[in-house]
């Protein structure tokens, strides 16, 4: 991979830091009145998801990381690995470990496209679509009446996630959920 110097650091650039692939979030030149220039750089570690700040001397460089984001549909799990297939028509499949799947495990639904982040061709993280439609498999019986009334109750969805839903929602209904917040949006 190519090396990138601090003045090429831009949000989204993938670089290697201490052995882990990282994505640059922010890069700011700091230069005291008459002194040497430094770069304060915010990086997201793509293995852990953690964001940290580092300082580099201006002109220092980091090795680029062979990281790419690909769209893939979820197929199935065999218990150990979760299997996805590229949506580019190649039918190429990738197996994803539980660790890389992270919290996305509770938003899995077959045939839905996810963004898989690959580092050196190995899946390191899975990002669900912002909104997903899932069926309610378990919740208290719905309350009849004014659907605009407030109040909420827990509901277990087909993917295993538990979300707060309005009181009028019944088992078997399909709901639209915001995966970023885990909030109920509407009936699908």
């Amino acid at each position: 991979m190519a090396n990138y110097s601090t003045n090429e650091f831009k949000a989204g650039l993938k670089v290697m830091l201490d052995g882990d692939p990282c994505s640059i979030v922010e890069n700011e030149l700091v230069k005291p009145g008459k002194g040497q220039a430094f770069n304060r750089v915010k990086l997201r570690n793509l293995m852990t998801g953690r964001v940290g700040e580092k300082t580099f001397k201006s002109g220092d460089s980091l090795e680029g990381a062979d990281v790419m984001d690909l769209e893939m549909e979820y197929l199935y799990t065999d218990g150990d690995m979760w299997h996805f297939m590229k949506t580019d028509g190649s039918f190429e499949q990738y197996a994803v470990e539980k660790k890389a799947l992270g919290d996305t495990v509770k938003w899995l639904k077959e045939q839905v496209p996810y963004i898989i982040t690959l580092w050196d061709d190995k899946a390191i993280s899975v990002t669900p679509p912002n909104f997903i439609e899932l069926e309610v498999v378990e919740t208290d019986p719905g309350l009849k009446g004014d659907t605009a009334q407030g109040g909420s109750k827990p509901a277990t969805l087909s993917s295993g996630a538990v979300v707060r839903v309005p009181l009028f929602i019944n088992q078997g209904e399909v709901l639209k959920i915001d995966t970023r917040s885990g909030d109920y949006v509407s009936r699908a």
């Binding site: 003045n7 890069n27 700011e28 030149l29 700091v30 230069k31 005291p32 009145g33 008459k34 002194g35 040497q36 220039a37 430094f38 304060r40 940290g52 700040e53 580092k54 300082t55 580099f56 001397k57 201006s58 220092d60």
Partner: protein, 326 residues
């Protein structure tokens, strides 16, 4: 791919910018400070080790000459002062290669002014008055800090007496960088790093902060004097608002020999670091030999001040066309 030819700033912002620039000119007109326009190109450049000058080649009646794009209008303005022009100000396009970011642009506008017979304190007051007159609301009072005191408060070290090894360790830790990358760095670099990463963000919050008594090694084109603790310090100040450095003022060095020595020292340091040497401005040195009146001068990053006055996130939000989209 479509070419993004649009300006970096909105047209509305450019109207606001023009209004603020008119206020700057009115401020100085009211005080009988003459507006001047000096060349962007000069025979000499800034020898400052940490500034990267751009240069170009020009065919002149004296043959092909390497001319330097000025990193500030300082040298030309000092030649005017030596010629007896009295107090002057300038809104000058200045160039510093490689400086790009939320508060930097390679080509930028410097507001620089000189006040013969002014003390540093008088110039600090005038600078603060100008800054406050351009802000939409009162930023809080002007508060003075000594460089040493800031290090005691925020870093818990003494910038003059702490050993270099310890400064390197503290700077690496506080700036989140590996200690090896500071292994060869000077005392000044460690202090600069701590100043910009640890201290600066704390300055100018609900106040206008002015910092004085910088280490003598950071004097550049300022005089040096002994402070109340007996340390040699630079007779200069910097003003901060919202953690951003806005202005840098000097009690101006008028001694030609001392100035020649500092230029030469800069070029020695440039050779040591493998940086290109910069042509020393012989015109400036000749002007100082002739005699420049004692006084104080200050450079203010006017794009930054406009950025803060208009509440914009990035410098390019107040520029017509930022580098390199120009």
């Amino acid at each position: 791919m479509a070419i993004d030819w649009q300006p970096s700033a909105s047209i509305e912002t450019l109207r606001e910018r023009a209004r603020l620039m008119a206020k700057v000119r009115a401020f100085f007109a009211q005080r009988d400070v003459l507006e001047v326009e000096t060349p962007v190109l000069g025979q000499g450049g800034s020898t400052d080790v940490h500034l990267v000058s751009l240069h170009t080649l020009a065919r002149t009646d004296k043959g092909q000459r390497r001319l330097w794009l000025q990193t500030s209008p300082e040298f030309h303005m000092k030649r005017l002062l030596s010629a007896g022009c009295g107090p002057i100000f300038q809104l000058a396009r200045s160039f510093r290669d490689g400086e790009i970011g939320a508060r930097h642009n390679i080509e930028f506008t410097m507001l620089e002014w000189y006040r013969p017979q002014f003390t540093l304190d008088q110039l600090i007051d005038e600078t603060a008055t100008l800054i406050m007159s351009l802000l939409p609301s009162f930023p809080g009072p002007l508060v003075h800090y000594r460089y040493r005191e800031l290090f005691h408060t925020y870093v818990e070290v003494d910038p003059f007496t702490t050993s270099l090894d310890r400064l390197r360790a503290i700077a690496a830790e506080r700036a989140q960088m590996p200690i090896q990358s500071l292994a060869d760095e000077s005392r000044e670099t460690c202090l600069d790093l701590l100043m910009s990463v640890v201290i600066e963000p704390q300055l100018g919050q609900q106040e206008l902060s002015v910092v004085i008594d910088y280490p003598a090694s950071q004097a550049a084109l300022a005089r040096r004097h002994q402070d109340v603790d007996g340390e040699w310090v630079a007779s200069r100040f910097e003003i901060y608002l919202n953690g951003i450095e806005l202005a840098n003022g000097y009690d101006e060095l008028t001694d030609a020999e001392e100035q020649r020595t500092r230029f030469a020292e800069d070029n020695v340091e440039r050779r040591r670091l493998g940086l290109p040497e910069v042509d020393v401005d012989e015109y400036l040195l000749a002007a100082l030999e002739h005699g420049m009146p004692e006084g104080a001068g200050v450079a203010l990053g006017v794009d930054r001040l406009i950025q803060l006055a208009l509440g914009k996130a990035r410098l390019e939000d107040v520029l017509t066309f930022s580098t390199p989209n120009c």
